[in-house]
C-alpha cells in the first residue's frame, strides 16, 4: 500500500535487515491489522512529535520579542489549539486501537482446530485433542497448523507463568497456572514461523522457543495421521540395542515413546522425535551431532534445565542416537 511504502522508505535504515521472524512480516489477518495500526500510530505520533520539535527549534532560535498582552493571548490560543488537536488525535488513535482490538479478539468459530498447549519450565507440550480420545496427538515444541482455518489455542501452565508468542501471526497470550486462557491463530500463508516464550520464567527463559509450521490442509492431515501411529520399529540391530539402552537408563523415567512401554510424563514425548525440525525447544537442529551432545550433557548447552547429564558408553550412545533418529 502507498502508506507502507512511504513509511518503509522513511524507516529504511533499521528495517533493512532480514525480516523473516518479525512482527512486521505478517502472515495472518490479525498480524496485518496490528501492523497497520502500528503504522497509523507511528505516523500520527510522529507528525505530532516533529511538529513539537519544530516549534521548540523555532522558539529557541527566534529573536526575542517584547512582552505584550496580545503576544500572551496569541500564545494562550496556540497552546489551547495544540491541546485540543492532540486530544482529538488521541481519540482517533483510541477508536482505531479499540476497533483493531475487537477485530483481533478471539471469536470462537465452531470449525476451529483446537490445540492444547501446556507451558513447562522451558519447553512446550502440544496436544491435539480428538474424539475418540485414542486419536489424540501428543508432541512437543513444534506445532503444525493448516492454512486457511482458524486455530484455537487453549493455554495452561503447570509451573510458572509463560507467554505464547508467534510474532508473524498474532500477539502474545500468557499461560497462567490455574487460569486457562485462549488464543487465536489464523495463518493465511504457508511457512515456518518461530515462536517464543515472552514472560520471564527462570533459568532457560532465553531458550524456550518453538516452531510453528503452517502448511496446506492435506499435508497437515498426513502429518496428523503419522503422528497418531505408535513409534516405528527399529530397522537394524544397532537401533534395537538403542531401544534397550533407552528403556534401561534414566530416559524412561521422564520421556514417553508410545508402543515400547515408555510412559514418562514429565518431559517431551519422543514418539516421533525424528519428524521434528529442532530439539531443545527450538534451540538445536535435529541432527545426530547436536542430539548426541544434548543427551550426554544438556547442562552445558542449556545450564539449569531439568534434563540431567547421561554418562553413556560410546556405543550405547551411538545406538541410542540411531534409534531416536529412526523415530519418524
Amino acid at each position: 500500500m502507498r502508506r507502507t511504502a512511504w513509511s518503509a522508505a522513511l524507516l529504511l535504515p533499521f528495517t533493512a535487515c532480514r525480516a523473516s521472524y518479525s512482527a512486521l512480516d505478517t502472515a495472518s489477518p490479525e498480524a496485518t491489522r496490528i501492523t497497520n495500526l502500528h503504522w497509523l500510530i507511528l505516523w500520527v505520533t510522529g507528525v505530532v512529535s516533529l511538529a513539537v520539535i519544530a516549534a521548540l527549534a523555532i522558539a529557541l532560535t527566534r529573536r526575542r520579542t517584547a512582552e505584550t498582552r496580545a503576544g500572551e493571548g496569541r500564545r494562550a490560543r496556540a497552546v489551547a489549539a495544540a491541546a485540543i488537536v492532540s486530544t482529538a488525535l488521541l481519540l482517533w488513535l483510541l477508536t482505531a486501537s479499540v476497533l483493531a482490538g475487537r477485530a483481533v479478539a478471539t471469536p470462537v468459530g465452531p470449525g476451529a482446530l483446537r490445540i492444547q498447549i501446556v507451558g513447562h519450565q522451558w519447553w512446550w507440550e502440544v496436544r491435539y485433542p480428538a474424539d475418540p480420545p485414542s486419536d489424540t496427538v501428543i508432541t512437543a515444541n513444534e506445532i503444525h497448523v493448516p492454512v486457511g482455518r482458524a486455530v484455537l489455542l487453549e493455554l495452561s501452565s503447570t509451573d510458572v507463568i509463560h507467554s505464547f508468542w508467534v510474532p508473524n501471526l498474532n500477539g502474545k497470550k500468557d499461560l497462567i497456572p490455574g487460569r486457562p486462557t485462549r488464543h487465536l491463530l489464523r495463518p493465511e500463508r504457508t511457512g515456518v514461523f518461530e515462536g517464543r516464550c515472552a514472560e520471564f520464567c527462570g533459568y532457560q527463559h532465553a531458550h524456550m522457543g518453538f516452531v510453528l509450521i503452517a502448511e496446506e490442509p492435506d499435508r497437515f492431515a498426513t502429518w496428523l495421521a503419522s503422528e497418531r501411529r505408535p513409534a516405528s520399529e527399529p530397522i537394524d540391530a544397532a537401533a534395537r540395542h538403542g531401544r534397550e539402552v533407552f528403556l534401561s537408563s534414566a530416559c524412561v523415567s521422564c520421556h514417553a515413546i508410545r508402543g515400547i512401554g515408555a510412559f514418562g510424563h514429565k518431559a517431551p514425548d519422543l514418539t516421533h522425535l525424528a519428524s521434528r525440525r529442532t530439539i531443545g525447544s527450538a534451540m538445536l537442529p535435529n541432527t545426530d551431532g547436536p542430539l548426541a551432545g544434548w543427551i550426554v550433557n544438556s547442562q552445558h548447552i542449556k545450564p539449569g534445565n531439568h534434563m540431567p547429564p547421561n554418562l553413556l558408553p560410546a556405543d550405547d550412545l551411538l545406538d541410542l542416537v540411531s534409534y531416536l533418529r529412526g523415530l519418524r
Binding site: T15, L90, G171, K172, A198
Partner: protein, 622 residues
C-alpha cells in the same frame, strides 16, 4: 563592605542555635534538611553507579550471541539487581533528595517539620540498600525480575532467601519515601513564606507536592503486596496459591497499582525541574501557570487509573482492557499541555545556551519519542505484539532516562552552585551531555527494532540466526558511550568541588527564593525569612521584604496558613538527636533478621520502642 553589626550578631546566634556537630557523630545526629537531602542525592548516585555497572555487564553479555561470560543464574541476579537498584534505590530517592533540599529553601523556611523522622527515613533507605547488596555479593541476590511475578517468586520456584531480600528492601525504601512525602507535604502547606499564596508557589514545589501525594497512595500498595509474598514465603499463607483459593493475578494487580504511579512519582519532579530551568534560562515566568499546575494534578490522578496496561497479555476481558487503553492515552494530554506551555515560554524569549537548558532540550527530544512508543504500548493489539520484548525495554529507558535522568542531571547542573558554592565547568557539561545523548540513543533506539524482531526481555543470551546480532552489538557499544558521559559528569562534579569557580548567590539570575540566600546556604537557610509578593520574588527588582521577630535562641519556624500563606504562629522544631539512628538500627535489624527467622520481626519491633520514645521526648541542649 562589612555587614552591619546587628546582622553579624544575629548570624552568630542563629548559627549557634541551629548548630550541626562535626565528625561521624555529627553526621549521625544531623536533622538539617539540607544534610539529609544531600545524603539522599549522593547515596542515590552511588547506587546509580552500581546499577550502571550492572547495566554494563548485561550489555556485555548480550553484545554477541551465545556469550558465556555470565551463566543464567548470575545474569538473572544482575538484571534483577539492575531493575531494583535503578527503580527503588536511585530514581525515587534522588527525587526525594532534591525535594528535601530545595522545597524548604524555595518556600522560604528554615527546616522541614519532622526532622528526626526524616533522619530515620534516610537510615532505612541506606540500610535497605546495603543489605540488598551484601546479599547480592553472597550470591543471594534476587533473581526473579524487579517486579517478581508469582509463582516464579514463590518459595517453590525461587528457593532460599534470594527473593526474600527483594521483599524486605521494599519495606525499607517505601517507608523512607513515605516519611519524606509526609515532611514535604506539610512543609509546602504549613511553612511557606508569608505572602506565598497557592498561586505563587514555584512550579518545582507544586511538582514535588503532587508527586509526594502520589507516594502516600502508591507506596502502601507495594508494601502490602511485598508483605503478602513475604508471609507466603516464610509462614506458609496461601495468598498467591491458586490451589488454596489464592490468585496469581492478585500480585500483578496490586504490584502495578503501585508500579505505574511509581514511574509518575519519578517523572513529576522532573517536570518541576524543567519548569525551574526554563524560567531561569528564558528569564521569563513559565507560560500558563494554572494550566501547568492542573496538568500536574491530572497526571497524578490518571497515573492511578492505567496500571492494567502491564497486563494486557494475561487474558483479561477485552472490554476491560480497552478502558485502560483509553486511560493510558488520556494521560498523554496533561503532559502534552505542559510541553506546549514550555514551548510557549521559550517562544519569544532569549534563551541562554547553558548546559541545564541543553538537558531540557534533550529531555524534549527523548521524551517525545518515549511518548510515541508509549502510545503504541497503550493500545491493546499493539501491546500484545511488543509486550515483554526489547521494544518495552527501549520505551521504559526513553521515558525514565530521557524523562527523569536528563532533567535530574540538568537540575543538578542548575543547582550545583547553590548546593556547593562552586560552578560546574561549562565545557565538561557540554561534553558529558553530548556523550550521554549520543550513547543513550545508540543504546536504546535499536531496542525498538529488536522488539519488533521478537527478541524477548530478560534473556541471558540469544541464538545467532535470529537476526538480532547487529543491533545488540550497536546497543552494547552505545552503553560504553553512555558510561563515558556519566563518568564525565562525575569528573565535572568532583573537579568543581575543589577547583570550580566561586558561585555568587544567584549565578543564573533565577527568580525563586533558594537564590535569595548564600551558596551554600547556612544551616538556618535565611537570616530573616523573606516575604513574597509575586511568583518571581527575585525579579521584583527591589530588596526582599523580610520577617522579623523569630527567636534566635530557639529552633523556630514560622507556620503560615495553607491557602494564602498568612503567618499564624511560631513552632519550635526538634534539634539533632542520636535516637532516630538507634531506632532505625534496631528496626532494620528486626526486618532483615525476619528474612532468616520470623521471630526477629517482633523482637526488632519491641527493641525499637525505647529509642523511638527517647527520640520523641529528649531535647538536645544547643
Amino acid at each position: 563592605m562589612s555587614a552591619p553589626a546587628w546582622e553579624e550578631k544575629e548570624r552568630a546566634e542563629l548559627a549557634r542555635t541551629w548548630h550541626e556537630r562535626e565528625g561521624i557523630l555529627g553526621r549521625i545526629v544531623s536533622v538539617d534538611h539540607k544534610t539529609i537531602g544531600r545524603r539522599y542525592i549522593i547515596t542515590a548516585f552511588g547506587f546509580f553507579f552500581l546499577g550502571g555497572i550492572e547495566a554494563l555487564l548485561i550489555r556485555l553479555q548480550l553484545a554477541v550471541p551465545e556469550n558465556r561470560i555470565l551463566n543464567p543464574d548470575l545474569y538473572n541476579q544482575i538484571f534483577t539487581m539492575h531493575g531494583t537498584t535503578m527503580m527503588f534505590f536511585f530514581a525515587v530517592p534522588v527525587m526525594l533528595g532534591l525535594g528535601l533540599y530545595f522545597v524548604p529553601l524555595m518556600v522560604g523556611t528554615r527546616n522541614i517539620p519532622f526532622p528526626r523522622l526524616n533522619a530515620v527515613g534516610y537510615w532505612f533507605y541506606l540500610f535497605g540498600g546495603v543489605y540488598l547488596y551484601l546479599q547480592f555479593l553472597g550470591n543471594g541476590g534476587p533473581d526473579a525480575g524487579w517486579f517478581d511475578y508469582v509463582p516464579l517468586a514463590s518459595s517453590q520456584y525461587s528457593t532460599g532467601h534470594r527473593v526474600d531480600a527483594w521483599v524486605q528492601i521494599i519495606n525499607f525504601t517505601e517507608i523512607s519515601a513515605l516519611i519524606v512525602a509526609a515532611s514535604i507535604i506539610v512543609t509546602v502547606f504549613k511553612q511557606r513564606a508569608p505572602g506565598m499564596s497557592l498561586n505563587r508557589i514555584p512550579l518545582f514545589v507544586w511538582a514535588m507536592l503532587v508527586s509526594m501525594v502520589m507516594v502516600i497512595f502508591a507506596m502502601p500498595a507495594v508494601i502490602f503486596t511485598a508483605g503478602s509474598l513475604n508471609s507466603d514465603r516464610t509462614i506458609g499463607t496461601h495468598l498467591f496459591n491458586p490451589a488454596e483459593g489464592g490468585d496469581l493475578l492478585l500480585w500483578q494487580h496490586t504490584f502495578w497499582f503501585f508500579g505505574h504511579p511509581e514511574v509518575y512519582i519519578i517523572f513529576l519532579p522532573a517536570l518541576g525541574i524543567i519548569s525551574s530551568i526554563l524560567s531561569a534560562f528564558c528569564r521569563r515566568e513559565v507560560f500558563g501557570y494554572t494550566a501547568m499546575v492542573l496538568a500536574l494534578v491530572a497526571t497524578a490522578f490518571l497515573g492511578f487509573s492505567l496500571w492494567v496496561h502491564h497486563m494486557f497479555a494475561t487474558g483479561l476481558p477485552q472490554i476491560g482492557e480497552s478502558f485502560f487503553t483509553a486511560a493510558s492515552l488520556m494521560i498523554a494530554i496533561p503532559t502534552g499541555v505542559q510541553m506546549f506551555c514550555w514551548v510557549a515560554t521559550i517562544w519569544g524569549s532569549r534563551p541562554r545556551w547553558e548546559p541545564p537548558l541543553l538537558y531540557v532540550v534533550a529531555f524534549f527530544l527523548l521524551f517525545l519519542l518515549g511518548g510515541m512508543t508509549g502510545v503504541m504500548l497503550a493500545s491493546v493489539p499493539m501491546d500484545l505484539q511488543v509486550h515483554d520484548t526489547f521494544f518495552v525495554v527501549g520505551h521504559l529507558h526513553y521515558v525514565l532516562i530521557g524523562g527523569a535522568l536528563f532533567p535530574v542531571l540538568g537540575g543538578l547542573t542548575f543547582w550545583f552552585p547553590k548546593m556547593t558554592g562552586r560552578m560546574l565547568s561549562r565545557r565538561l557539561g557540554f561534553w558529558s551531555l553530548g556523550f550521554l545523548f549520543v550513547g543513550f540513543n545508540m543504546t536504546f533506539f535499536p531496542m525498538h527494532e529488536l522488539g519488533f524482531h521478537g527478541m524477548p526481555r530478560r534473556v541471558y543470551t540469544y541464538l545467532p540466526d535470529k537476526g538480532w546480532n547487529f543491533w545488540n552489538l550497536v546497543s552494547s557499544i552505545g552503553t560504553v558511550l553512555l558510561a563515558i558521559g556519566v563518568v564525565l559528569f562525575l569528573v565535572n562534579v568532583l573537579r568543581s568541588l575543589y577547583r570550580g569557580a566561586r558561585a555568587p548567590q544567584n549565578p543564573w539570575g533565577a527568580e525563586t527564593l533558594e537564590w535569595a540566600t548564600e551558596s551554600p546556604p547556612p544551616v538556618y537557610n535565611f537570616l530573616r525569612l523573606p516575604v513574597v509578593a509575586s511568583r518571581s520574588p527575585l525579579w521584583e527588582g527591589k530588596e526582599l521584604p523580610v520577617v522579623t521577630g523569630l527567636a534566635l535562641d530557639r529552633r523556630e519556624v514560622l507556620v503560615t496558613g495553607a491557602l494564602d500563606g498568612a503567618p499564624s504562629h511560631r513552632e519550635e522544631v526538634p534539634g539533632p538527636s542520636p535516637w532516630p539512628f538507634v531506632a532505625s538500627i534496631t528496626m532494620s535489624v528486626g526486618l532483615i533478621g525476619s528474612v532468616f527467622n520470623v521471630w526477629w520481626l517482633p523482637a526488632g519491633f519491641v527493641v525499637s520502642i525505647p529509642p523511638a520514645v527517647a527520640w520523641y521526648f529528649t531535647e538536645e541542649k544547643p
